[in-house]
């Protein structure tokens, strides 16, 4: 199956878990005006895959997720999860879902909110206390567990939202702007949590504005704009294009030798150079040459990640 080929590791093609079939959503006002939020969106997501969804504001990411959870009905097409209509699957199995807007009644206490959601998620009484305690500890909410939701900061509310999504050992996780409002420490912690959640039988969708985050976490990223799937990008480095790419190289020792390997190198700062190469093969050859001559490389950073480059091309920015 070619839809997963960039990220498949084994011989067996992963089973299809989520399938968007020519999905469209048009909003109509009472005056007859219509807005197409999503158009002709088709995509399949395989078991064990982490799919990123990227797009500018208003691109249709949240509408797409709302349709996947059955909160909105597609105007055209359909969405299936494990072969069943999306809403039917959610009602029967549940999905770990973190919405972009964390909407929990403000009068609820953080820990009792989790107990309520755990009850709705079907956890037996004997497991609820332990599981709630686990997610509270995982998300660092111990000192906030007795607080009412309205007393939580944006970051803590975001963590509470993520905690409720992780109450069960879900097969499917959908995270919409998961690091929105998190400080750098918790942004990194979130990435570690997602890495820990990666499992061959678990499928994850992560919608984010943060391309760097998607580059690190996702296997593939669907770039959508104006409601359409513009491009599907594999994030693995084995897929790095052979196209011209710029890197910034920092040199700890032997900076005078850089131009020998990279004749077009531009000085970008103290001991830093911007170089343009035609593919990573050329980059590696030149770096190997420098290192062989005793140059000490401190860092090599692409000016734009593969994903960022693709994103800019797809949404028409330069």
């Amino acid at each position: 199956m070619d839809f997963l080929s960039p990220t498949s590791n084994g011989d067996r093609a992963p089973a299809i878990v989520i399938e968007f079939k020519n999905v469209g959503k048009t909003y109509k006002s009472l005056l007859g005006n219509s807005v197409k939020a999503v158009e002709e969106f088709s995509l399949v997501v395989g078991e064990g895959e982490i799919l990123g969804i990227a797009g500018p504001n208003g691109a249709g990411k949240t509408t797409l997720i709302a349709m996947m959870l059955g909160f909105l009905r597609p105007t055209t097409g359909s969405i299936e999860i494990n072969g069943a209509p999306a809403r039917q699957y959610v009602e029967q199995n549940g999905i770990g879902y973190l919405s972009e807007l964390i909407a929990i009644p403000s009068k609820w206490r953080a820990d009792t909110a989790l107990v309520r959601y755990a009850t709705l998620a079907g956890l037996p009484d004997a497991e609820i206390s332990g599981r709630v305690g686990y997610v509270i500890e995982l998300l660092g909410l111990e000192e906030h567990r007795d607080k009412k939701v309205k007393a939580l900061s944006k970051g803590n509310l975001q963590r509470l939202g993520l905690a409720q999504a992780l109450l069960r050992d879900e097969k499917i996780l959908v995270l919409d702007e998961p690091t929105h409002g998190l400080d750098p420490v918790w942004t990194q912690r979130f990435r570690d949590i997602v890495e820990d959640l990666r499992r061959p039988d678990r499928t994850m969708l992560i919608a984010s504005h943060n391309l760097d985050e998607l580059q690190r976490l996702a296997d593939r990223v669907a770039i959508i704009d104006r409601g359409r799937l513009q491009r599907l990008v594999a994030t693995g480095y084995e897929q790095a294009p052979s196209a011209t790419t710029r890197f910034r190289i920092a040199v700890a020792r032997g900076h005078e030798m850089v131009r020998a390997a990279f004749p077009q190198a531009e000085v970008a700062g103290r001991d830093e150079f911007d170089v343009t190469v035609h593919g990573i093969q050329e980059l590696n050859s030149a770096l190997a040459n420098l290192i062989a001559q005793g140059v000490l490389i401190a860092s090599v950073v692409p000016e734009r990640s593969v994903l960022e480059q693709q994103f800019r091309e797809a949404v028409g920015e330069s």
């Binding site: 909105l72 029967q92 919405s99 807007l101 959601y117 079907g122």
Partner: protein, 244 residues
């Protein structure tokens, strides 16, 4: 994991929400309303105060208790479904393995239990100062009005955002329009027949609260009308989007 949500267990949380957010308010309003109406009368009448149905106060008690029951239903129905949609609470609730129809149907029943308990408490207080006032009869009347009025309220809460105001407007508007056009023998009198059968409430209140009986046709009309709209609300919930 494929286990279904434990909706029956969650009814305890729904009941707790009712008590904290609506039940206590209903009891306080009902108590204060009764107190300011009847305590001055009791003081003024002194030894003439009688707790039977021949007392001149009986008619006022019927009116006030009927109004308290209606107001309680209005309070209970306020935002029953629309608040979850308006505030986005549906997102976390229904990403769990829960059927939205079952969730809200259960909420409707749990709130009915809450309203009836509140009415039982208030009617117990009324019974102390007015022994002829039957707790059982009043609770049965409250159940009838909950289904009749609450069924429409449920439908409105599913269909629109401003459900409380709309329900009050429809309830009062129906009373006025039926009063004006009902007696006329033209198309307007037929059209108002489609409105909620609020004109039957006074007779039902008098007979049901008073002696525990009511005309079967009136009860069927009221129950049927409410249940029809409750079912329509469920149909909309089934086929419309949960998100706005």
């Amino acid at each position: 994991m494929t286990s279904r949500g434990r909706l029956a267990k969650y009814s305890l949380w729904q009941f707790r929400d009712f008590v904290m957010e609506r039940g206590i308010g209903i009891v306080i309003i009902g108590f204060l309303w009764g107190y300011v109406m009847f305590e001055p009368l009791r003081r003024t009448m002194g030894g003439q105060w009688r707790g039977d149905q021949l007392s001149p106060v009986w008619v006022i008690l019927l009116q006030v208790s009927s109004a308290v029951a209606s107001l309680s239903v209005l309070i209970a129905m306020n935002g029953l479904v629309s608040i979850d949609r308006k505030n986005g609470y549906y997102r976390f609730l229904f990403s769990k393995p829960v059927n939205a129809l079952a969730y809200y149907a259960q909420l409707f029943v749990v709130y009915m239990v809450g309203v009836l308990l509140a009415m039982a408490l208030l009617s117990s207080l009324a019974h102390i100062i007015f022994p002829a006032f039957s707790i059982v009869n009043f609770v049965i009347y409250s159940a009838l009005i909950y289904i009749a009025m609450g069924g429409i309220g449920f439908f409105l809460s599913v269909a629109i955002r401003y459900d409380w105001l709309t329900l009050a407007a429809i309830w009062l508007g129906s009373r006025v329009l039926r009063g004006v056009y009902g007696p006329k023998n033209d198309w307007r009198s037929k059209a108002v027949e489609l409105l909620p059968p609020v004109h039957r409430l006074d007779d039902v209140a008098n007979s049901l609260i008073g002696n525990g009986t009511a005309a079967t046709s009136d009860v069927v009309w009221l129950l049927g009308y409410g249940l029809l709209f409750f079912a329509l609300g469920l149909v909309i919930l089934r086929y419309a989007s949960l998100a706005d």
